[in-house]
C-alpha cells in the first residue's frame, strides 16, 4: 500500500471503531460514554461532551468526559447563527464565538470542535494543548450525525418511557390505596360483625343466666325462711350475702341485656314530644323522686324532636336516675333539664347538684361496667351510661359530662335535628 492508500485505510479503520460504539447500549449514558471515550482515546482529546436542548435557547448536559458541573443553562441565541454554513465548526480561544461554548465546562480548552446534531443536540470536543489539532474531524461528520440522531431517539424514547412510568406509578399507587382501603373495609366489616356477634352472644348469655340465678335466689330465700333448719345467725348472714350477691348479679345481667338490646335493635325515628316523654319518665321515677324530695326543672325544651322514642326515654331515664342516685346527703336534689337548638342538632343538658366526680374520671364513666363509686353505697350495673352513649351515637350525637367533685355534674348530649 502506498501512503495515500494507508491513510484511507487508517481513516476507514478509525471511523469503523467509532461507528461501532453507536448503539452499543440503549442506556443514554452508557451509549454516550462508550462513544465519547473511544473518540477521546482515538483523537487524543481532552474533553468530549454531549448536550441537548431543553428548548430553543436552553442547553442541558447529558454526558461529558471529564465530568463537569452543568445544569440546564440558557445560551446566547446568536450562537446558533454560527452553524449557518457548516454543522461542524472549529474554534480556538482567539475566536469571538469561542465564548459561546466556553461556559459549558469547568476548564479552559485551547481549541474546540462543535458539531450541531440537528435541532436538538450538540457535540463539543476540546483540546488542551496548543500543539494539537483536529486533523480529520470532517471525515467524522456523518458518524457524529448518526450518534446525535441515536442519542436524540433514546432521549425521546426515554421521555415517553418516563411519562409512561409516571402514569404506571400513579396507577400502582391508586391500586395500592384501593387494596389498602378494601383491606381496611374488610377489617371494619369483621369488627362490626364480631361486635354484633358479641352483642348477640351477650344478650343470649344474659338471658340464659337469668333462669339459674332466679333458682339460686329463690332457693336461698327458701332456705332462710325454713324454720325447721334452725339456722344460726351466722348461717343466716351467709345466706343473706349469697342473696345480695345474687341480686347484684341480677342487676348486672339486666344491664347487659338492656345494653345488648339497645345495640341490637334498630333506631326507629319518629317525631317525639319531649315534654310528654319527660313527664312519662318522671312518672316512672315517681317513687324515687318523691322519696328524696327531688325537684326537676325543665327549661327551653323543644316541643318535639326526631328520634327513637323508646331509646330517648331510656336515655333520660338513665340520666335522671343517676342524678337521683348520686345525690348529696346535705342538700335536696335539684335536676335541671335544658335544651339549646342549632340548625343541625339539639344540645340537651341534665344538671344536678349531686356528689360530682373528679375531672379525670369524666371519660371513664361511659365505658361498660365502669363504676367510680363503691357497690356498698350505690347499687348499679355500671352499664347505664354506656347505654346512654350508645343511644346518643345512634342519633348521630355526642355525649360528655362536665363535673366538679362535691358540687354536681352536668351531662350534655346532642341529638341530630335531621
Amino acid at each position: 500500500m502506498n501512503e495515500n492508500q494507508n491513510d484511507i485505510v487508517l481513516t476507514l479503520a478509525s471511523l469503523y471503531e467509532i461507528l461501532l460504539q453507536i448503539g452499543k447500549s440503549f442506556d443514554i449514558k452508557e451509549n454516550a460514554q462508550s462513544f465519547l471515550k473511544t473518540l477521546m482515546l482515538q483523537q487524543n482529546l481532552s474533553f468530549a461532551g454531549y448536550y441537548s436542548f431543553v428548548n430553543s435557547v436552553t442547553l442541558k448536559k447529558v454526558f461529558s468526559i471529564p465530568k463537569t458541573k452543568f445544569g440546564a443553562k440558557a445560551v446566547n441565541p446568536e450562537w446558533l447563527g454560527i452553524f449557518s454554513k457548516n454543522d461542524l465548526i472549529i474554534l480556538d480561544n482567539s475566536n469571538k464565538e469561542y465564548q459561546y461554548f466556553n461556559f459549558l465546562f469547568d476548564s479552559a480548552y485551547s481549541k474546540l470542535a462543535v458539531f450541531r446534531g440537528g435541532d436538538k443536540s450538540i457535540l463539543v470536543l476540546g483540546i488542551k494543548s496548543q500543539q494539537l489539532s483536529f486533523t480529520q474531524l470532517n471525515a467524522y461528520t456523518l458518524v457524529f450525525k448518526k450518534f446525535c440522531f441515536f442519542m436524540e431517539s433514546l432521549e425521546s424514547h426515554n421521555q415517553i418511557n418516563h411519562e409512561i412510568s409516571i402514569k404506571n406509578e400513579q396507577a400502582k399507587t391508586i391500586q395500592k390505596n384501593n387494596l389498602q382501603l378494601e383491606k381496611q373495609n374488610e377489617e371494619l366489616r369483621k369488627y362490626i360483625n364480631s361486635n354484633n356477634e358479641l352483642e348477640k352472644f351477650a344478650y343470649r348469655t344474659s338471658h340464659d343466666l337469668k333462669a339459674p340465678l332466679k333458682s339460686l335466689s329463690s332457693f336461698t330465700k327458701l332456705l332462710a325462711l325454713n324454720s325447721e333448719l334452725n339456722l344460726t345467725d351466722i348461717q343466716l348472714k351467709y345466706l343473706k350475702i349469697i342473696d345480695d350477691s345474687g341480686q347484684q348479679m341480677d342487676l348486672l345481667i339486666d344491664g347487659i341485656l338492656e345494653y345488648s338490646r339497645f345495640n341490637e335493635s334498630q333506631v326507629k325515628k319518629q317525631k317525639v314530644n319531649i315534654q310528654g316523654l319527660l313527664e312519662q319518665v318522671e312518672l316512672m321515677l315517681f317513687d324515687n323522686i318523691s322519696s328524696v324530695r327531688a325537684q326537676i326543672k325543665k327549661k327551653d325544651l323543644p316541643n318535639s324532636i326526631w328520634g327513637d322514642e323508646t331509646k330517648l326515654k331510656q336515655l333520660f331515664l338513665n340520666l335522671i336516675s343517676n342524678a337521683l342516685k348520686f345525690r348529696r346527703s346535705d342538700v335536696l336534689p335539684i335536676i335541671t333539664i335544658t335544651c339549646a337548638e342549632s340548625t343541625a342538632e339539639y344540645l340537651f343538658s341534665v344538671q344536678d347538684n349531686g356528689i360530682g366526680m373528679k375531672q379525670e374520671n369524666t371519660d371513664k364513666i361511659f365505658k361498660v361496667f365502669e363504676r367510680l363509686n363503691s357497690d356498698q353505697f350505690y347499687e348499679g350495673s355500671g352499664i347505664g351510661l354506656s347505654t346512654c352513649k350508645q343511644i346518643v351515637i345512634q342519633h348521630n350525637g355526642r355525649i360528655w359530662v362536665d363535673s366538679t367533685l362535691h358540687k354536681g355534674s352536668t351531662f350534655y348530649f346532642t341529638i341530630s335535628s335531621h
Binding site: 482515546l41 487524543n44 468526559i65 483540546i127 494543548s129 500543539q131 494539537l132
Partner: protein, 367 residues
Amino acid sequence: MIISHISEANILGKIKEYNKIVYSDFIILCGEEAYIDYHLLIALLNKEKIKFCGGIFPKVIYNNECFKDKVLLLPVNFEQEPTLVSGLDDGEIQIPSSLKSINSNSLFILNDGLSNWISKFVFRLYDEIGSDHHVFGSGAGFSSFKRENCLFTHEGFFMDAAIVVPIKNQNVQSTRHGWNPIAGPYIATKTSANLLQEINWKPAYVICKSIIEEQENVEIGTDNYYKYAKKYPFGIYRSNSEYLIRDPVSSEDDLSIKFGAEIPSNSVLYLMKSNIQDMLDAGKIACEDVFAKSDHPLFMFVADCISRTWILNDRFNEELNNIYQIAEQRNIPVYGVFSMGEISSSNGGLLDYHHKTIVASIVEIDE
C-alpha cells in the same frame, strides 16, 4: 537522596536528617533487593508522624547509575495525605471522594504494574479529576513478575491498588518511546481486557507470528514467542499524538496474545518495531523537551520501562548518561525507576498509561 546502607532505622534517620534542613514529605522508591521489613518501616515512619508513600521497583535510578538494592527518597510537599485506590484487580474501581475536589493540579501516582485494570483506573481518574492536572507516575512491581505487595502508605502494604498523591510542587513531563509502525492498520476485532484475540477477524497470534518470522527470519513457536515478540509491541493509534504502546506478555492456547494492559475493542492497531538508536534518541528528546518546559526544577524523575531496559540491554548506560548529561547542565539530580508501565498527561490530552516508554518529569521547587 539515595540510601545505600539499607535498614529501616537508617531510612528513618536519613529522613529526620533531611527534615532538619528543610521540612518535607517523602516518596520512597525501593529497589527490589533492598530487603526492607516494610511493615516495620511503615510503623517507624508513622510513629514519627512522617508523611510518605512508596513502592518497590526492579531497579532505582540515581543520576547515571541504577541499583536494585538501594532506596531513593524524593522530597516533595504533599497537598494532602496519599490516597489508596483499590479495585485494580477486578475493575470495580471507585475513585475516593477525597480526590474529586483536590486543590493541587500536580499529582504523583504509583500503581501495581501487574494489575489487570490499570488503563481503566487511569481513565476513571481522569474522568473525575478533569483535564487541569499534570500527572506523572509509574507502575511498581518485581522483575520476576511475581505478584506481591509492592506499594505502601501510612495505611499499610498493598498490591492491586494505586496510590494517588496531590503534591504542592508543580510538575511538567515529556513522553517518548521511539517505536515505529511496521504493519497495519489493524482493527482489534475481538478483545477481552488484556487479551487480544483477533485482529482483522483473524487470530492475533497467527498474524503477529507471520510478520515477526518475516522480520527476524526465524520460526516462531510458543517457546520462543516472547524472546522475539518483546521487540514487536503493538501501538494503539492516536491521532495527533504518539502511538500508545502495548507490550505483549505471552501467547495463549487459543491463539490470542496477552498484554500488560487492556486493548480497547475495535481500536486501530499497528505492529511496531524500533532500533536501539531510535530508542536512545527518544529518551534524550524526552529529557530535553521536559527541561524546555521547566522554570524552577527541583529534580528530574524518570520512569523508564523495564522492557525498554531489556531491549537496550548493554547500551542502557548510554540512556542513563544521556539523561544525566542534560540534568547536570541544570545542576539538578536525576531520580528514577525501572517501571512496570508509565503514567503521564504529557501529550496534552488524556491521562495515559504507557508501555515500553520513557516519561521524563521535572518536579519544580515548591514556592
